[in-house]
């Protein structure tokens, strides 16, 4: 009996995983991410060839012509996770297969746990294989591979990426549990994606500009260079940056980016161009990086737990009614 009870989750998990891996939705996203990330790794390789001191990790951030791996995840991560979760429950509710499923001798939590674990596994496969392919491609092109410390950093990035994608999956699962129609949950997903990946940086910039506007000297005799070099100006820019970061930290995508940058050994913000165009980044060792990114990692993990717990409770209390 006890063995069978544990099997409920396994059976749902296996079926859901097979569904994901065979679904057009997953394969299209996978292909897209794979294509863009190999392109970004190639750009990273060119970057490293130009600046040999950049180190192997530059394949994840050194894309000069757009999409680095981190930006790819900031931008597409939400959509990958949400796409795998947004219709997990309400699709079965609408189609009527949920009442058939729940008429079987299993506990309800087997269904939601199985679905979530299958999603996380599918996302892990996507994340790990993308990072592996990027690294091996770069190794082949460069003629040298990542060192021991780089390998550790890559493993940490992979783990963090999985956590981050799992958060979006959990949020999608929550949307699918809260809403009855998939059309509603897909709209909620798209709105969240736009807000967290794109809108938030615009909003943050607007707010920063209202609180700390940049003075624009005008008229003859205005000396731009002197202004840019003054300590007041630097301070202003720093203040604007702090305001922007704090607002953008609402978005898990931003938190992820900050954490990944730190793990890659780069301190400072992703959206931030340093004064005078110079790089504000300094190199971090792994323990420093982990200490620095710990709040971000914790925040993402807490978000994931909160989303999953909410969908778990809602699903268990979901009342099957006549007519769905």
């Amino acid at each position: 009996m006890r063995r069978f009870e544990r099997m409920g989750v396994t059976i749902v998990f296996r079926k859901e995983l097979a569904d994901h891996l065979g679904s057009r939705r997953y394969l299209v996203l996978f292909a897209l991410i794979l294509l863009l990330s190999t392109m970004s790794a190639y750009q990273g390789v060119l970057y490293i060839r130009d600046r040999p001191q950049a180190g192997f990790m530059a394949i994840f951030w050194g894309a000069q012509f757009g999409f680095s791996f981190t930006y790819l995840m900031v931008f597409f991560g939400p959509i990958i996770g949400l796409a795998l979760g947004f219709d997990a429950v309400n699709k079965e509710r609408t189609s009527g297969s949920l009442s058939v499923l729940l008429s079987q001798p299993i506990y309800r939590d087997a269904v939601i746990n199985g679905k979530f674990l299958a999603g996380v596994t599918a996302l892990s496969i996507l994340g790990v294989s993308t990072i592996t392919i990027m690294s091996s491609l770069a190794t082949t092109l460069l003629g040298f591979g990542p060192g021991a410390e780089d390998l550790l950093r890559i493993t940490l990035i992979a783990a963090l990426t999985i956590l981050y994608l799992a958060f979006w999956l959990g949020l999608g699962l929550l949307f699918s549990t809260v809403t009855k129609k998939t059309s509603t949950s897909i709209l909620m997903s798209i709105a969240t994606w736009l807000l967290c990946s794109i809108m938030i940086s615009i909003i943050a910039a607007l707010v920063a500009n209202m609180i700390a506007p940049i003075p624009m000297p005008s008229g003859p005799g205005a000396n731009m260079t002197r202004l840019f070099e003054s300590p007041e100006y630097r301070e202003l820019i720093q203040r604007r940056f702090t305001i922007q970061s704090n607002i953008q930290r609402i978005s898990p995508a931003y938190l992820y980016n900050e954490a990944v940058q730190a793990i890659m050994g780069r301190a400072g913000g992703f959206f931030f161009i340093g004064p005078g165009g110079g790089s504000p980044f300094r190199s971090l060792d792994i323990s420093q990086a982990l200490t620095m990114s710990w709040p971000q990692i914790t925040a993402i993990a807490v978000g994931l737990v909160a989303c999953f717990a909410a969908s778990y409770i809602l699903f268990l209390r979901l009342e099957i009614r006549p007519g769905g």
Binding site: M7, G8, V100, L101, Q104, P105, I320, P322
Partner: protein, 311 residues
Amino acid sequence: MPQPIVETRELTKYYGEVKAVDHLNLTVYEGELFGFLGPNGSGKTTTLLMLMGLTIPTSGTATVAGYDIVKESKEIRRVAGLLPEGAGYYEDLTARQNMDYIGQLNGIPKPEREKRIKELLEAVGLERWADTRVEKFSRGMKQRLGIAEVLIKRPKIAFFDEPTIGLDPQGVKEIRDIILRLNREEGLTVFYSSHLLYEVQQTCRRVGFIRNGRLIATDTIENLSKKVAGAEGKTLEFELTEITPKLVAEIRAIDGVASVEQEGLRLYVYMERDRSREVSETITKHGSVILLMRPREYSLEDIFLKYYEEV
């Protein structure tokens, strides 16, 4: 003596303020084909969902196969199968894959599962479509797949909720034949919920009438018919060669005749007691010839409406 397999005691369910099921007391016996009849929204589906443990009663208790519907609902789902109203399937999986999933969830080992799937798909006439994706299935085929899925666990009792709704006459007959065969040949207890009178009349021996969540009557259809007839008194239908107002007045005057209605050359005589002899004598005395004389029969619709109007 047949054993009860479903017993509900004062089973009640509210959805907010709305009373869906109201102090329902119902017993279904092992091996019977029980018809659960009621109009749309009368609480049939809610009752079935409670019996399967998919929704929790507001008050009252019930047992299915001896298990409590709240505390032991998982055990119930092991021995009872439900074909829910508007049951759905995984459209991008084949019939066999759909059944395999349900079979796995019931803990049936692989070789046994494969054997049962083959047998059941044959039994419901889907063996040719076993490896076709369900999205290509017609409504009737999906419904037959649903029955096969219910049976894969070899249930003691099967709940069918409006199993023929939306099917064409051919599909309806196929489903009915399958259910009748299961009951007769396999001895499966069937709880058949429907709002379709003729469906139930042709399938079930004993029926329960439910309205507004209350059980109005439970009996065989013949007994229910007799009860309606008994309550109404006896009605005789005559066809005569001629009817005069005087004849009608005289029949009315017979002690025990409640009323007389005329429709062309037909007379309907409603009697409190049996006065057929007196009535026919009166007719003959008036020189009219009786071409036809028969007791009026109640159609199922009459019974149905009668029960629903009364409460």
